[in-house]
């Protein structure tokens, strides 16, 4: 109960950051794409804050219907497709100011930054069962915000401004992971996964352990690349290939399945479909190449790891 309430409140807070961006864009005089940008962030505010708002007081019926959210997502996609969502002007401190205040505040400035991870860890350890990791992240963000205000003696208005500046800088890409998850749901409902698994199982020669191992690992990676999610791939590929062609030939199920999932993660490293790991960071770290800037560095490591998965599974599971 408490967990649901707190989780929903977190989403309300996320919504409020979006709302601040909306209001700021509407008020600005020289925004390059004022109303469409404002509409984009306003829709996100609505979806984050109100789509399950009844959960806050335990009434699951008070919500926005999924169909309405679906149409709103389509509007977001159209705004993004027409390149109408743009970033406005923000008050940012100068480099001189940053350097000066870095010297003045000293290493204490790291305390709020590190508290993000440490508080999340403590909350997750102490109340793991009751609260889960999401709430821990939220609690850590609040503690970090309070500590940041205390140590920098900055203004709350500056903090909100900076939060929405970073959000607008990341831009529409910030919702890509959610959109991809939605695509995964449609794929699952349409039976795309089963089709691929049955197709692949036709190419494996019966009774060849090495071929089974290679196709299982490669299949996990490949299918993860398509779905953008190793979890979705694991159920389908393990049932379709892992069990009949590896475990049924005498492979130790513990080793085969454990390596099977991480073989899928090798695929995650190589696909733009895993947007939260590979695309969103290009925005967060201000990398020029928004599509391949992260992936191209990960491909060689992913291929080496995938090959090692095959070797280890073949040698260790049999």
């Amino acid at each position: 109960m408490l967990k649901n309430t707190l989780t929903e409140i977190l989403y309300v807070l996320v919504g409020l950051v979006c709302l601040y961006s909306t209001v700021k864009i509407v008020r600005s005089k020289d925004h390059p794409s004022k109303w469409p940008s404002a509409l984009f962030w306003f829709i996100l505010f609505i979806v984050f804050t109100f789509s399950r708002v009844g959960m806050i007081w335990g009434d699951a019926k008070v919500k926005i219907s999924d169909t309405v959210v679906g149409y709103l997502v389509i509007v977001l996609a159209v705004l993004s497709a027409l390149k109408l969502v743009k970033i406005g002007k923000f008050s940012e401190s100068t480099l001189e100011f940053k350097k000066e205040s870095a010297m003045k505040i000293g290493n204490k400035i790291f305390i709020p930054a590190l508290s993000l991870g440490i508080v999340a860890f403590i909350v997750a350890q102490v109340w793991a069962k009751q609260l889960g990791t999401l709430i821990a992240l939220g609690a850590a963000a609040l503690v970090a915000a309070i500590l940041a205000l205390a140590f920098t003696r900055g203004k709350v208005s500056d903090m909100v401004e900076d939060g929405s500046r970073l959000l607008e800088m990341i831009g529409p890409v910030s919702i890509l992971p959610q959109v991809l998850a939605a695509l995964g749901s449609v794929f699952a409902a349409a039976g795309v996964g089963k089709l691929i698994a049955s197709g692949m199982s036709h190419v494996i020669p019966q009774g060849n352990i090495l071929a089974g191992v290679v196709v299982y690992c490669a299949g996990m990676a490949l299918f993860t690349m398509i779905m953008g999610n190793a979890f979705a791939a694991f159920a389908v590929i393990t049932a379709g290939i892992g069990v009949p062609f590896v475990i049924a030939q005498g492979g130790n199920p513990v080793i085969v399945s454990a390596l099977g999932l991480t073989a899928g993660y090798c695929g995650t490293l190589m696909t733009p479909m895993a947007a939260n790991f590979n695309i969103v960071p290009t925005a967060i770290l201000e990398i020029e190449d928004k599509r391949w800037g992260v992936i191209k560095n990960q491909v060689p490591v992913a291929l080496v790891m995938l090959a090692l998965h095959m070797v280890l599974m073949y040698l260790w599971a049999f």
């Binding site: 399950r52 449609v186 475990i247 390596l259 490293l269 590979n278 560095n297 090692l308």
Partner: protein, 228 residues
Amino acid sequence: MIKLIGILIIVVGFVLKLDTIAVVVGAGLITGLVSGMSWNDIVTILGKAFVENRYMTIFIISLPAIGLLERYGLRERASYLISRIRSATAGRITSLYLVIRTVSAVFSVRLGGHVQFIRPLILPMSMGAAENRYGKLEPKDEEKIKGLNAAVDNYANFFGQNGFVAAGGVLLIVGVLKELKIPVEAIDIATASLPMAGIILIVGTAQFLLNDRRLAKKYQIKPNTNKE
């Protein structure tokens, strides 16, 4: 076979560099339609999944704190601090982070994240160390360091997390195999996941240190031509 059209749309969309969000939503709508689902059902599935996966975007909540700290020079301080350690290089910092992040992932500690750690701390340290050694870097090399910094969090996160017995991935494996009538214990899955957590430390570190060597070679041959 026609159901696979969604995958084709995605691939073509990426190759033609069309807007990613629009391509993905379009692929979903078309896949649903050719599979015989009703328009209303497809839109509802889309909306439902979007709402249920809001947790993926929860990182937004830590942006205000990070933003304020950056306004007051967090990145500059991180870079200053590292510039005083002479032996620091971009690759060594990234490798150290790989070890810390992987080991903490095995213990289920979320000491990481592109928003929480890489942008405010690890990246400014890596850049600071590199610039301290080689002077101003070419944009291409800055991109490389940024890319490797993004990658390190993924390496550690992916291959470390299943070492923890209650990790989502471990529970997924146990659940899926149970459905398939193959009972396994979570603790055994976690143990079997440890070798890969160790191997990524070696493979990742090798990549980061190789980039160090490349940078050292490049900027010694061409000393400070970019400096004013």
